[in-house]
């Protein structure tokens, strides 16, 4: 199974377009770019919690992002954050898979496989392009001031590794 990282995501540092920057449980940062949103976010079930002000302009709820995250975390284990679309970010791919199983059992227990597929799947508006990830290490010179200011305990980092998956 291709996953963004074998480490646990502890924080969503940034979310924009098809790029996510995560802080991992060893304090390194990982960038997940392109691919599908389910891959980027360790979210194979595509769980998406609508909130007011998200990038999804079809959403009309008044629920705040903080409230949506609080409710999502109450219902599913392992949700770390919501990205700018409302897609859940799970700490591991396995946690995302467990949530997906719960979702399927909760919503499709009486459905045929055909009904399940039609009812479950939604268009992945952010998919496409190649799937790649970059891992950041605590050394180097690039990154810019904003980047350094938010680099936390690991200090000044740079991108020095890219992987095509």
């Amino acid at each position: 199974m291709d996953v963004v990282s074998e480490k646990k995501v502890t924080r969503l540092v940034a979310s924009q377009g098809k790029t996510r920057v995560f802080e991992m449980d060893d304090n390194t940062w990982v960038t997940a770019q392109h691919g599908t949103v389910s891959w980027r976010n360790n979210n194979p079930g595509n769980l998406k919690f609508e909130f007011s002000g998200s990038a999804d302009k079809t959403v009309h709820t008044s629920r705040s992002k903080e409230k949506a995250l609080e409710q999502a975390q109450d219902r599913y284990d392992g949700i770390v954050a919501l990205d700018h679309w409302g897609n859940a970010v799970f700490e591991t791919y396995e946690a995302g898979r467990e949530a997906q199983k719960t979702l399927v059992v909760d919503q499709h227990a009486d459905h045929t496989v055909e009904e399940l597929v039609k009812g479950y799947s939604t268009k992945d508006y952010s998919a496409g392009g190649s799937v790649a990830c970059s891992e950041l290490h605590a050394s180097g010179t690039a990154g810019g001031s904003a980047y350094r200011a938010r680099s936390g305990a690991a200090g000044h980092r740079t991108i020095n590794e890219q992987m095509n998956i």
Binding site: E50, L69, V80, Q162
Partner: protein, 289 residues
Amino acid sequence: MTRTLRLTMATLLACAGPAFAAPPVKAPPTAPPEITAAAPSGTTLLSFTSSGDQPDAAAAAVYETPPDKNGIRHRTLTVFGRNGGQFAAEFSNEKLIACSKCSQFHDDPFDGDYVKVTPAHVHIEQIDSGEKPSTTVLDFVKKADTWQVSTAERETVVAGRGDARTEKLPFPTPNLASDMDARWAVPVFLNGLVVNRTNGKFMFTHGKPTPDSVWAALTGDCNKQECTVLVQQEDGCISLVRDAGGRSFGGGSPDPKDKVQAISRAMSACDAGGGQACKEVRTDCSKGI
């Protein structure tokens, strides 16, 4: 490519919002003493919102009971007007605010952050935890010294996915906010473990409102002559354990996050039944729909 990535990173981080942290625990509401003193017997203040302390100010307080035997807390809304420098209760209603499990997910739709109060107007939104949330909107307005209902709408998204269904909740006649019923209830979802006595097949059933509807859902797979319900309960975990001879035993726990208790109870049932080499086969947990 590295340069592009560096630029992307700088842009991303410049645009990054604050770090996502666990939601803070809400502090108990602070409210004027007359609000606290107005709590119905056996309740405590859950939330308080006011338009300020101007002469025509309004305020809304929600009081709640301790958990009942099913762990459910019930709420009363009291709306206040400013009178002689203090808030005075103008109406109360026990049917406007959702109970602590009054949603399809058996979670709490009420959050005091979604109560907005301006003079002569109270706006309340109650939102469940669906991916696409179900929302109940209530508006109360004060006209000629009487609080009336001006909006009562519920948008429901079954299981938080799919299309929303909007319904207008009926206004009371005459239109008095004190008589409004927002029709909150704790929906029943039965879960169960059914085993076929003849071939040993097992089925976990989920989310049925009545025992009869469970059997109806099993039509073609099982019936009351061939199958036995080992466990049937609402929220929680259900575990199936089998012994070396293939006999099935079930156990349940009321906590949907406590698989261990369900397994332990199923193992105990197996041991008590004289089972040898009892072993967990499967454990499912569920809460709400």
